[in-house]
Amino acid sequence: MDGRLSVTRRSCRALEAHHVLTRGAALCLLAVALAAQAGPNSAARVRTFAALPDWSGVWQSAAWPLDISGRPPGGEAQLRETLQLIHPPPYNPTWKAKYEEGLKNTADLAAKNAAFKACTRSFPALMEAPWMFQVVVLPEETLLVFENNQVRHVYTDGRDHPPEDELWATRLGDSVGHWRGHTLVIDTIARKQEPLAPRAWLSMLSERAHFTEELRMTNKNELEDVLTIDDPLALAHPWRMTLTFRRVKELTRVIDYDCTENDRNPVVDGKLIITTP
């Protein structure tokens, strides 16, 4: 047994030990063993690839059906129905008190809203962002490639998260995953502390926040991501929500969204303006 295989087998067993899955851990071990022997076009890798789902196409959060002005046709009322991360997290009493204290600063909240602009999102807000994306499913990892050039790497080669002394917080965190049938189970840790989503300026989580996702195709035009946020320091109980993505039927390719190309909306004195070309 070579060293790499030994390490990845340990990672699979770690998944089992964490009760992430049991049958899945066995499949994980099998896939890793096959991959360890496989070249890029080996029969084993081709078979593994062929067993994975086809999620090709262009996708977008169902929370953001945008018109050509860049806003939801249903406006604010529509967002009220669709965005989930803007709701108050189920905080424990200590964090709830901090949240409620922040609500009193209405001037600060209003100022943040008036001057808000963003070209990127942290995780998990990226999964509820307006930007279209492609899902690239490979045996070793699944990539979510967003039009704004953000990429989520979800490694499915059996690895575990890096050890603590090699791990630091980032805006997208560190994600590893495994397949349970045609459902991609994603485990994410090490998210940088910042408001949970744009517009939810008071919704903070601790450095112990832990995210689990179950991403699957529910029909040929819809993906579903069941997201569970757990944070033993901040939340009274795990926060579970279902995010939905719709196939963008009008597009057959992801079109680049370089937010810096021609930004004519600077913030001046706390307000967005329009500059002349």
Binding site: D67, E76, K117, E250, L272, P277
Partner: protein, 127 residues
Amino acid sequence: MRYPKALLGAPLFFSLMQALAHHSGAMFDDSKSVTLTGTVNAFQWTNPHCWIQVLVPGPAGSVEWSIEMGSPSLLVRGGWKPRTLRVGDPITVVIHPMRDGSRGGLFVSATHTDGTPFAAPPSQGGT
């Protein structure tokens, strides 16, 4: 954990002041629609927004308005192309104007001066 209704309403109220994808929409007055008729001075097919520059004739000569649209990817979905508009094209545009009174606004619709639209959404090619 239950929150008082008043607390639930407050963050939602503030969060929903803007409905645009890229930045706050507070700068635009959604309660007003202004119709501009003039000619295209430029059509910027750029990120994060496409822009129509419209020259609108007035008593003291033409003045230029800046009309903000969505990104190219959104325009393509709506049937627009980089050369849908050309410099000099007569155009009628409806906008939500800037609250600060500057000559700009958020795109609502655009038609040729005879009322026909410039573009229509493409047939849906996906499966």
